[in-house]
């Protein structure tokens, strides 16, 4: 089988805010300075979704500082910013009531920020990049990193047209080897290519383990007078317990349109914890229910978030490559913001790449300038002071809040570098958590959804617009021996709980032996399974390009 090759100067993997900002910045630099020896830089962007923005999901409240720098006339160009933030509230929820924080903690103050749909913003950014003449290849997934020794020479895209048994179909197209002088990896939270780089080049050495959370979100249409557009609500407490990190948000995007979401740290100890169940409990809280009742859920989605902060960001540069955005973990978990950081690191990656190619040196030493740029930029100013906040929450809600306060007031000076643990290591066994008796009684707890405020996972997935070609191999690679043997007694098959899309189900055969059934086409590409499975036997790889959710308006 002959594989096509394509040679470009810069390959950007991922058409999200980081990748698109990198692409646009490169186009801008080209215009200002011209390409190396006068010829234009060949830039290509790979995006696994069928169209720009389809896989993009976030709350979101956008800090517009980076957007202002990248596209000063963003308003005139019609950037889709849903509403300017008018109102900020933080509540501590108990099961039946709520306590309002008298002062909104400074990191959660959003004056001057905008509530946005990341899907719509990304779509708009995609149009800007295309107008600037950059090739965006939608529907192409980056499958493997191409390397020569320790140098990244490009990316191989996924094969297309293979049936569920692994046999090529009539329309089979092998993946393409794209060779680039520099590859900018913007493949998102727990990106499969960045994961490969971390392993092959030990980029995490000397850094703290990466930490993650899962975010679930729904878009709701409600009577227009429920919440004024621009209202931002954050909650802590119920339904999470003190040992669990997370919280929820409700943003009023427009009159009668609410963005409702729930975030849970992927380092919980209770193996029977189900983030979707917690999300449903949140919606049934009297306060939340009063905002949603009578309304209609029109979209659902889920995605992991990189929560670990500055000390967990791996080495971000190597021979022939750099990493930007969520893939490296550039997210401020205190402010719950990452889009502006993804955009800025994308821009810095572009600037470094442009200089390196012009100078004819794309080695690790040359690309180290990327990290220096980050260190000198608002990215470090913002992330360094709060570098241990997430780790502090790992010790409980109160320590977390206290330490955050200290971090804020001392601008990070008075804070030691707290150590963290990889989340999947935190999950306890049934025996440890529930006592020996319970371990035998681990059954899949189902909640009855009322189909008005709460929905079962399968119904929710329908509203994520997720479609995959059914006739392809499963893109969740699982060593299933543990499923049939130790996982049930030890953890009670937690994959059936932490997956927000009902991808994993346990069926029992005639002899009562559990067998894992993978409903791969439900997958919303959130990466939670790859992150949280206690045995680390699940590897997420991209399905055939074009497949996945359709997060319109999310």
């Amino acid at each position: 089988m002959t594989r096509e090759t394509l040679d470009v100067d810069v390959l950007i993997v991922g058409g999200g805010p980081a990748g698109l900002s990198a692409a646009l910045r490169l186009a801008q630099l080209q215009k200002e300075h011209g390409g190396p020896d006068g010829s234009p830089l060949q830039v290509a962007v790979l995006e696994k979704a069928r169209e720009g923005g389809a896989h993009q999901l976030s709350g979101a409240v956008l800090d517009p500082s980076t957007l202002r720098e990248l596209i000063p006339d963003f308003q005139a160009k019609g950037a889709p910013l849903a509403a300017e933030v008018t109102d900020d509230h933080v509540y501590l929820l108990t099961e039946k009531s709520k306590l309002r924080f008298p002062i909104v903690p400074p990191p959660l103050r959003n004056h001057g920020n905008y509530i946005v749909s990341l899907n719509r913003l990304t779509k708009w950014l995609t149009e800007q990049v295309e107008a600037a003449g950059v090739d965006i290849f939608s529907g192409f997934a980056g499958q493997d990193v191409l390397m020569e020794g320790r140098r990244v020479i490009g990316v191989r895209t996924g094969d297309r047209g293979i049936d569920r048994h692994g046999t090529p179909k009539a329309a089979f197209e092998p993946g393409v080897d794209i060779h680039a002088k520099v590859t900018i990896f913007c493949d998102g939270v727990r990106g499969n290519l960045t994961k490969e780089l971390l392993r092959r080049l030990e980029l995490g050495r000397g850094r703290q383990p990466q930490q993650f959370a899962i975010g679930l979100k729904e878009l709701w249409e409600v009577p227009p007078d429920r919440l004024a557009p621009g209202s931002v609500i954050h909650t802590l407490g119920y339904p999470l317990r003190h040992e669990e990190f997370g919280g929820a948000f409700i943003y009023a995007m427009a009159a009668g349109q609410l963005s409702v979401g729930f975030v849970a740290g992927l380092d919980y100890r209770d193996p029977l914890f189900d983030p979707h169940v917690a999300f449903n409990r949140f919606k049934l809280h009297p306060f939340v229910a009063s905002l949603l009742s009578g309304g209609q859920m029109i979209r659902y989605g889920a995605k992991a978030l990189p929560e670990g902060g500055w000390n967990t960001i791996p080495k971000t540069y190597m021979d022939g490559g750099v990493i930007a955005g969520d893939a490296a973990g550039f997210l401020n978990s205190m402010r719950l913001k990452g889009i502006h950081l993804a955009m800025r690191t994308g821009m810095l990656a572009a600037e470094t790449t442009f200089d390196a190619i012009r100078a004819g040196d794309t080695s690790e030493a040359a690309l180290a300038a990327y990290q220096r740029r980050i260190d000198a930029s608002p990215v470090r100013d913002e992330l360094y002071p709060v570098r241990s906040v997430h780790q502090a929450f790992g010790r409980g809600l109160i320590p977390g809040l206290l330490l955050s306060g200290v971090a804020l007031m001392s601008k990070g000076a008075l804070l030691d570098d707290l150590s963290g643990h990889a989340g999947h290591d935190q999950m306890k066994t049934l025996a440890w958590y529930y006592g020996i008796d319970k371990s035998a009684a681990a059954t899949h707890a189902t909640t009855t959804a009322d189909r008005k405020l709460t929905f079962d996972k399968v119904t929710n997935v329908h509203y994520s617009g997720t479609v995959h070609d059914e006739d392809q191999p499963s893109h969740l690679l699982v060593h299933t021996e543990v499923c049939s043997t130790i996982c049930g007694p030890e953890y009670g098959h937690p994959c059936t709980r932490f997956c927000p899309a009902n991808v994993y189900e346990i069926q029992h055969d005639a002899a009562g032996v559990p067998r894992l059934q993978i409903n791969a086409s439900n997958c919303v590409h959130c990466k939670t399974c790859d992150i949280m499975d206690p045995y680390q036997v699940i590897t997420w790889v991209p399905p055939e390009g074009g497949g996945g959710p359709q997060y319109n308006g999310m």
Binding site: E51, D135, V467
Partner: protein, 258 residues
């Protein structure tokens, strides 16, 4: 052989219906778009015929500027160039209007073969191709599963096609070229657009054509609505035997489906 393929951009199959306030059309802002599925099979058939007989494949489409998405996709899959009758007002045009918008520009091109999908996934009139054939004054056949060119592949040749009839019946029909065929879904395997194809598509010609003057719609949508279930669910109770008896009776006498 000069082959035309008429393609339409329609909302994706997963799209949840949202209506405009006056309920006469859908709210387009919330929709994602794709190439009408039968048209994709028509395009694939055209590309295969070109591979076999040489010539060019020209995609023709009508609608607002967003329609360029499917035109580019067709070019990326291998079509040679495109005609776009661009007009925002044609977003909800009926089949007659679409055919009348295309006919003058297409008549000028003097295609040997015109392929369309058998119907569109949005309004689903299943008329456009046949009306277009009448306007172009060329013979046609519909719901085609197989296409053979006999003799010359240009004007003066013939085409032999397998037409689908109901209930598992089929029929072969021969017609002189030029001719128009409406293509059934699923008759071939759709090829992917390759990276090189996508890049090459950017350089291919999309000729913008003005809407002919004096076009009028043939029908008007007064309102759109979600289908309502006319009947209430009738629950049947009793023992297994009793319920079975009652169900069969109702299916036979009330619903008359047995």
């Amino acid at each position: 052989m000069k082959i035309a393929v008429c393609i339409k951009q329609v909302p994706t199959r997963e799209w949840q219906p949202r209506l405009t306030d006056d309920k006469t059309w859908i709210r387009e802002q919330d929709a994602s778009w794709e190439m009408n599925e039968p048209d994709a099979y028509a395009l694939e058939e055209a590309l295969r015929l070109r591979e076999k007989h040489g010539g060019e494949v020209v995609v023709c489409s009508v609608g607002p500027s967003r329609v360029q998405q499917v035109i580019r996709e067709a070019l990326a899959r291998g079509a040679d160039r495109a005609l776009h009758v661009e007009d925002n007002g044609l977003a909800n045009a009926d089949a007659f209007l679409v055919a009348d918008a295309l006919a003058p520009a297409m008549a000028e091109e003097r295609f040997d073969l015109v392929l369309t999908g058998l119907q569109s996934d949005d309004q689903g009139h299943a008329q456009m191709g046949v009306v277009l054939a009448e306007r172009l004054d060329i013979p046609h056949s519909t719901i085609i599963m197989d296409v053979e060119i006999i003799g010359e592949s240009g004007q003066g040749g013939r085409v032999r096609v397998k037409r689908e009839l109901e209930g598992g019946w089929f029929q072969w029909i021969t017609m002189p070229l030029p001719a128009l065929l409406t293509i059934q879904s699923g008759i071939n395997q759709l090829r992917y657009a390759t990276l090189k194809g996508i890049m090459a598509a950017k350089k291919k010609e999309i000729r913008k054509v003005a809407v002919p003057a004096g076009l009028r719609p043939s029908q008007q949508i007064l309102s759109l609505a979600l289908p309502t279930k006319a009947k209430q669910t009738q629950m049947i109770t009793g023992s297994a035997g009793e319920a079975a008896r009652e169900l069969v009776r109702r299916l036979r006498e009330e619903a008359r489906v047995l």
